[in-house]
Amino acid sequence: MDRRDFLRLAGAGIAGAFLTQLRTPLTSATTLASTSSLARAKEASHPTFVVAHGPAVARNLRSALDALGGISRFVSKGDIVVVKPNIGWDRVPEQAANTNPDLVYSMVEMCYQAGAKKVKVFDKSCDDPRRCYVRSGIADSARKAGAEVKFVDDRNLKQVDMKGAVLGKWPVYSEALDCDKIINVPVAKHHGLSRLTMSIKNWMGVIGDPRGKLHQQMDLSLSDLARFFKPTLTVLDATRILLANGPEGGSLKDVRTLNTLVVGMDQVAIDSYGATLFGLKGTDLSYLVAAAKSRIGQVDLKKVRFTSIEVT
């Protein structure tokens, strides 16, 4: 190889590297989808959220969605859907530290019934992700329902400007952005700093480290997250709730079985209702007050139309 050849080759290589840097800007299809579905909700006069109570989690979910106008209102044919449960902890389902695996199964199943092309399930766990995925039962149940279950691959954390009050550029998991719909499926439980962790706090599982820093400005950061990740649908799992020693729990004495789901679109209102399951009001949670203040949703349940259904 002479010098000329070398330079030509090197030049081509550098040019190629530059071109690939221009590859696929992050699309935020989720944002569009969710705002329009919110708008449609008002038109069709569906309730903002539905509380479904009954012994079988699958039927609870189905009934709640029916009362909201059916899953097809949220998931369209050919959609790539992210179902985001809480798989944060190396705990078994009875300990109520993670989302109920049966609920994840049903949620994935229903997405496919609505014609989804692919459903992805993941969470950036706090404990060792391998153990969390296995012991939560979620990897197994989601795979059985046909979902793609992968660990969060740190290479796919992309620096994104969240344009929030405190969160500027932050690593965000690109699979949570490169999808058509995102469905938040958190579990309702106790949390030391924020008192309760439900829908809004579940978004901490799709961003990268240093996540712990968010604790310093919990209220504002959670508002920023909720504003950034507008979900198509939120399914708050209160099948079992963790009353103390959260978010990890461990003792079955701290768990109460409520067999309840709160399903809808306004994540602030849903969390506000979730607070009542613990004997609190939404306004007791300062991050919900902050979120309501920045018009992410309604914290005052009197101003929200919701229905409660008993499922047999």
Binding site: A17, V134, R135, N245
Partner: protein
């Protein structure tokens, strides 16, 4: 036969590598492959256990196979099976075989390995294990899993990551498919990082490089296991025969990797021979052959004079006070956090063979080799470094994998209640305590069902003048098990504001911290 031996070596080294890559969490609480079987076959381990604790782990009875083969047939273990021996052969292929005839002939310096063996055995009888540092299987597993393996992964990941980051889609789609397979079957879940990776990796490479001076340098001069098997093979039944066709051309001696003097009548050294069949293969006259024969005294001899024996034993004994005058036993390093299930420090050091299997299998990469934290005696034994990785609450892999029981295999319930240290808050660095900033990430991650980190609330004035509730963390020493997740997750990421030291560990009752009324 030489080719058969090569096949055997290839099969066993592949099995060895396969099991080494499988030495990690596989989705079940129990380890599913017999990942440490190569270590179980090492008779020095069972010997050490017998000497140090007068007990034996049933699995280590497998080493009787090695003993039996050596007693009956000779050092086939070294030539046909030993992964370090095979690596030496491979290194020999790389460095090329420029050998002189005298390299294949017995020389007195070969006795050094017996000196080492005697020193190891005598220090072992009197309670000190020097074995871990010198055992060939320990050494191989340690250098590969702590040094060379992670370096190999680093390289592999680097290549695939840069292809993924920079190459066009068509190319990275292919490379990612390959990478996916590698990640599933070969690579660890996360890139491992080890203290002393460089030292331990270089050590193995250095030992292999000594092939340049003599083939199988390690096996000739150092290996205590080879020495033991040499001693055992004294009365074995396979012998090298030389027929009258031998014209003493010396080819066989040049082919001999261990200096067993194959080409001189009645000079062949059984204790040095590893039955590689090179001499038979290389002999153009067909004069050399192996066959069964009743043992002869002179071929099994080992030139270790009584004087040398006594000197070696004495040296072994002398190392005991020499190493034990270090204060590390009476005043342990505060950061020497042993894995849960580790025996009391004295017992632990007697049994630990520094094979690093526990470090390899550790989910979080938190178990790291010591350097001098446990004294010279404890070099390369495991300690938890919470800044690198914490002890996962429901994981019991390290105890399961320990070949000698230095770390007990605990039922998960017992493991969760085993205290390995205690967390302390550095209030000068802790955000709520030092700067009135809310945080309590430590409390959030604390895994005990009743949290060992709680918080107290205080009303404070914020920088904007408004009052807010500040949550100030505090450790409950009766509940803390020292797992170190608080230290690992502490957002004060350089010198953490909460850190674990080994006081209060359940294996040393004399070091419990607080005096509390009996229940």
């Amino acid at each position: 036969m030489a080719n058969l031996r090569r096949v055997s070596q290839v099969i066993f080294i592949l099995a060895f590598f396969f099991l080494l890559t499988r030495t990690q969490y596989s989705g079940k609480d129990e380890i599913s492959y017999p990942v440490k079987i190569f270590l179980d076959l090492d008779p020095l381990f069972s010997g050490l256990l017998l000497l140090s604790s007068y007990s034996i782990k049933p699995i280590l009875l497998l080493s009787l196979i090695t003993v039996g083969v050596s007693l009956l047939f000779g050092r086939f273990f070294c030539g046909w099976f030993c992964p370090l021996g095979t690596l030496h052969n491979a290194a020999g292929e790389v460095t090329g075989k420029v050998r002189k005839t005298e390299h294949g002939l017995y020389s007195r310096s070969l006795k050094w390995k017996y000196v080492i063996l005697v020193a190891v055995v005598f220090s072992g009888i009197f309670s000190m294990s020097l074995l871990g540092v010198l055992d060939p299987l320990s050494l191989t597993v340690r250098s590969l899993s702590v040094g060379i393996g992670p370096a190999f992964e680093f390289l592999t990941r680097g290549i695939f990551d840069s292809v993924y980051a920079h190459a066009p889609r068509a190319i990275w789609r292919v490379s990612e498919a390959i990478y996916g397979v590698l990640r599933q079957y070969v690579l660890a879940f996360n890139q491992p990082h080890f203290l002393q990776a460089t030292l331990l990796g270089t050590l193995l490479i250095g030992l292999l490089a000594l092939n340049l001076t003599r083939s199988r340098f390690w096996c000739r001069y150092i290996c205590p296991l080879g020495a033991l098997l040499g001693v055992l093979s004294k009365a074995s039944l396979v012998r090298l025969r030389l027929s009258d066709a031998c014209d003493e051309c010396g080819k066989c001696a040049r082919a001999c990797p261990t200096g067993a003097s194959p080409g001189i009548k009645d000079e062949w050294r059984k204790a040095e021979c590893i039955f590689c069949w090179n001499c038979v293969e290389t002999c153009s006259k067909g004069a050399a052959s192996f066959g069964f024969a009743s043992p002869r005294r002179e071929e099994g001899r080992i030139d270790l004079s009584r004087r040398a024996f006594l000197w070696s034993a004495g040296a072994g004994l002398l190392t005991i006070p020499l190493l034990r005058i270090s204060p590390s036993l009476t005043k342990p390093h505060p950061r020497l956090i042993r894995p849960p299930g580790a025996l009391s420090e004295k017992e632990f050091l007697r049994r630990c063979v520094k094979c690093s299997e526990c470090m390899k299998v550790c989910l979080t990469n938190g178990l790291q080799p010591t350097l001098l934290e446990a004294g010279v005696e404890g070099v390369w034994s495991p300690m938890l470094v919470p800044r690198v990785g914490y002890c996962e609450y429901s994981c019991t892999l390290c105890g399961q994998i320990c070949p000698t029981g230095a770390i007990k295999s605990l039922p998960v319930e017992e493991k969760r209640n085993t205290v390995i240290g205690l967390a302390f808050i550095d209030k000068n660095r802790c955000l709520p305590h030092a700067f009135n900033v809310n945080c309590i990430v430590c409390e959030e991650h604390c895994p005990t069902p009743r949290k060992a980190i709680i918080f107290e609330e205080a009303r404070k004035a914020g920088s904007d003048g408004k009052e807010f509730t500040l949550k100030l963390p505090r450790v409950i020493p009766e509940l803390c098990i020292g797992c170190g997740i608080c230290e690992y997750k502490c957002p004060v990421s350089d010198e953490p504001a909460i850190y674990v030291t080994n006081i209060n560990e359940s294996r040393s009752p004399e070091r419990s911290l607080l005096l509390s009324p009996k229940k």
